[in-house]
Amino acid sequence: MAQVSWRNREARATSRAVSAARPQRKDVGLLGVGFFIVSETTFFLGLFLAWFFTRNTSDVWPPAGVAPPPIAPAIFNTVVALLSTVAVFFAERALTRDDRRGLVRGIALAGALGVLFMAVQAAEFTDLATLAQGSAYGSTFTFLLLFHVARVFVGVVLMGVVLVRALLGHFSRKRRLLVQATAMYWYFITGVWLVVFAVLYLIG
């Protein structure tokens, strides 16, 4: 049998003393978040598929006797979402200049806006529960809001973690993976909201 130079037989002796669990390149984290976001997008695509399928197979849309929820809170929340995205953007930029105070301020503002977003939706949820049980239209409407706001919740938790760790001084221009990942996810959440808003409230 042929010998191969990298076969490293002598390695066997030390094999139990070393660990394998280490990626060879450093940039894998953001890539992972990117692919995760692809799968999240697919999930919402599934829900939108349900929405458009139901819409196309209904004679009346929204169904007779079902009133679409008021648009005002949704417009308000669109503004909130956009503002929070701007805040995240500036927080991330601040970190590239090693401006930790800018980071803390931006993330705190964005997180607070995220909480506001959730509060506005929560206020609507009793109406939405009835809506969801009344028709396929209502069920899909509610699910799209519900699963989006669940992502907002995850985003807010992530920002909480970032905030604490920023205050503890864990981040710098060179160490900012979690900040970048959180920002990426937040942009995604805002993007989903814009589509949800357009489809549910504007197109109807």
Binding site: S19, P23, Q24, L49, A50
Partner: protein
């Protein structure tokens, strides 16, 4: 040979014993756990299949009552697909061999990897325990509404099934993220796109499909759970097609999720055992990726009797026929690789040849069903059952056994008994064909699938009896395999490279050390080990 030295972080001694397995984040141990788990589920679902075949052996038998029968085929299908084929191919072989074949020390996110495994095992146990303790679903693996709605499946068994499949989907989605990042960013220096091993190409494509398909099923499952428990109205009145669209949007790609890794395995083994390079390597890669893409364009071929707009149906008939083209390309590439090769007819190659023969038959019945007028006749009949067993058992499962015989020595450090291996192969090939070939005729004679029994005098007796006999031969062949595994303990030592392989996993010890490579190899062609053999004189 050039290689790059990367310091390995020294950590505490790798834990041994049970804790070493439970707490492991090593891709190889996780891979082995996936394999053991999947094989266990394979046996469980196989026992269910034997019960199904016993019940159908002759007209009007009462081996199990009709309700149990429905629960059995539901669980048989779900377990074989979700808890055996996918986790064995993707979780088992994918985890163990993708990092080794690309010259990496582990996957990109080892902890996430462990999490995926435990969530998969947990979901599997929930489903199986629910089944054993009587909380069973009986709406088939397709869970079509309205069978699966509260009115027709009122018990909690349906919810357990749904939640199990949701969890499995989450596990495999996270696993897919892991694979894609690993293959993208952790390849050894020099491993450019055309030098990536075929199995890794197949796994990356599969992971991409998981990422773009599984969440849609997850959404549908959650919607159904909500309909059943929170009175939402997704699938009520007139919305049965919505379930079918969402289900098949996932489940057609899922059949490629189950076959692409097996095709990747075949593409690795055939060149090694033909002592030739893979014929038309680029064509094989391109057809893999094409199958991955086209796999998303054919799902309505499962709905040709569901009342879809005929124009849409015709579009999907066309795409379904188109997807047979890249599949055919691969078959010709494999044949051309075998052609004129100096064949080393060991069990791994025999399994590949078994794959080729049976898979092609399944592909032909697939193209037949792609045609709307034919499908309207055979839909929901045993013809469909014959088709998907030819592709899934004849394809994926032969591929799985090919991989077990090929890579088993690498994983265990021991060689299988060739005689038993050959016996296993022949029994399996014969048993398989005796079981499933008659089902083509049964289907054409009008026997519907998913019926608990049938009256005599329809001409179905002989076919069913033959199929049942075949099933027991098949089960016996698996027993031979199990004996072969038990005998491994006393098998001959495998050495690093028993087959004169082409890919990097054969450059390390069998079983490989925990960190895989002390020095990360540099790759200069698609067959790095062949290069190395050519350069070093034989001793």
């Amino acid at each position: 040979m050039a290689s790059i030295s990367i310091p390995i972080p020294l950590r505490e001694r790798a834990k041994s014993g049970l804790l070493g397995w439970l707490a492991t984040v090593d891709h190889k141990k996780i891979g082995v756990m996936y394999m053991v788990m999947s094989f266990f589920f394979f046996i469980a679902a196989g026992v269910m299949a034997l019960l199904i075949r016993l019940q159908l052996a002759a007209p009007n038998l009462q081996v199990v009552d009709p309700n149990t029968y429905n629960q059995l085929f539901t669980m048989h299908g779900s377990v074989m697909i979700f808890l055996f084929t996918i986790p064995m191919l993707v979780g088992g072989f994918g985890n163990y061999f993708v990092p080794l074949m690309i010259g990496a020390r582990d996957v990109a996110f080892p902890r996430l990897n462990a999490f995926s495994f435990w969530i998969t095992l947990g979901a599997g146990l929930v489903m199986l325990l629910g089944f054993l303790f009587g909380a069973r679903s009986d709406a088939a693996w397709t869970a079509y509404v309205p069978y699966s709605t509260k009115s027709f499946s009122p018990t909690v068994g349906m919810d357990i099934w749904l939640i199990g499949v949701i969890l499995l989907g989450i596990g495999s989605t996270l696993g897919a993220v892991n694979f894609l990042v690993t293959v993208y960013s952790m390849r050894a220096p020099g491993m450019t796109a055309w030098r990536i091993p075929m199995f890794v190409w197949a796994m990356a494509t599969t992971a991409g499909m998981v990422l773009l398909a599984t969440p849609v099923l997850t959404a549908a499952l959650i919607m159904l759970v909500a309909d059943r428990n929170f009175n939402t109205q997704f699938f009520t009145t007139n919305r049965v097609q919505l379930w079918q669209h969402m289900f098949w949007f996932y489940s057609h790609p899922a059949v490629y999720i189950m076959i692409l890794p097996a095709m990747g395995i075949i593409s690795e083994i055939i060149p090694v055992f033909s002592r030739k390079p893979l014929f038309g390597l680029r064509a094989v890669v391109i057809s893999t990726v094409l199958i991955g893409l086209l796999g998303f364009t054919t799902w309505v071929h499962h709905m040709f009797v569901s009342g879809v707009d005929p124009a849409i149906e015709r579009f999907f008939m066309f795409t379904t026929m188109v997807i047979a083209v890249p599949t055919g390309v691969k078959v010709f590439n494999w044949l051309a690789t075998l052609w004129g090769g100096s064949l080393n007819l060991k069990t791994p190659l025999l399994m590949c040849i078994g794959f080729l023969g049976t898979f092609v038959i399944g592909g032909i019945s697939g193209v037949m069903q792609a045609s709307i007028p034919i499908d309207q006749y055979v839909h929901n009949s045993y013809f469909v059952v014959a088709h998907f067993h030819y592709v899934l058992f004849g394809g994926s499962v032969f591929g799985i056994f090919a991989a077990l015989y090929y890579w088993g020595p690498k994983i265990t450090g021991r060689m299988f008994d060739e005689k038993l291996g050959k016996l296993h192969f022949w029994l399996m090939l014969i048993g398989f064909n005796i079981t499933f070939f008659p089902m083509h005729f049964l289907g054409l004679q009008g026997m519907p699938r998913r019926i608990a029994t049938y009256d005599p005098g329809r001409g179905w007796e002989a076919g069913n009896l033959i199929a049942t006999i075949g099933a027991f031969i098949l089960a016996f062949s698996v027993l031979v395999f199990i004996i072969n595994v038990i005998k491994l303990r006393r098998g001959a030592p495998a050495g690093d490279d028993p087959w004169e392989g082409n890919t990097l996993e054969w450059s390390v010890a069998s079983p490989p050390p925990e960190y895989n490579f002390l020095e990360i190899p540099t790759v200069e062609s698609d067959r790095p080990l062949f290069d190395a053999r050519m350069r070093t004189p034989h001793v």
